[in-house]
Symmetry: C2
Subunit: 122 residues, 2 copies
Amino acid sequence: MEKSCESPNITSEDCSAMLLAVGDALYAVGGKWKLRVIIGLSGDNKRFNELKRIIPGISARVLSNELKELEMNGFVKRIVYADASPVMVEYELTDYSSTLKDVVRSLSEWGTTHRERIRQIK
Amino acid sequence: MEKSCESPNITSEDCSAMLLAVGDALYAVGGKWKLRVIIGLSGDNKRFNELKRIIPGISARVLSNELKELEMNGFVKRIVYADASPVMVEYELTDYSSTLKDVVRSLSEWGTTHRERIRQIK
């Protein structure tokens, strides 16, 4: 007896396709920090230490790794100002990162209402 | 020099609030499996082994842990049919899990276009 996972709750999309797609998305930008680094870089290019200050709780080692992975995957660009002295490095969001707008918005909205719910339960 | 992270890319929401909210959301339903378990349970209650079959790559140990956490946090209900022989256990999504609809939809849509992009690059 095989049950489908089409859903009145979530959406009527085909469940396997959705499992695959959400898996792909989480593989690329899941984890504790990637989306937060992207949010931190929104608006303005930032230097490593500026970015680290903006994201509460992230360590230099983790931020450095996350930036490398985000750069490799086309979400972030590393800009080296070689003429500056000392050499200055900034990080910038690529256009591609803006495709995550809806993901960030929905998570942010949900996180806000979830926090409110937890507060009411406690 | 403090830079803001308000963004033309992501949204105009205040950046610290967004970092906090997305952090809360990822804390509750982030990680590799939670949203996939919720998608797997969409539509129909399922028994443990049915659910395990639907979600590619999940181990029994991990699924068991994820279900416990999802139950503790109010996303999943464990229903015990004590009259059945042997006793039957099913898992069901709570109404609260449907508040994740937008999150699942946006991740699913983004994952689909991201996969398409990766395919074109390769």
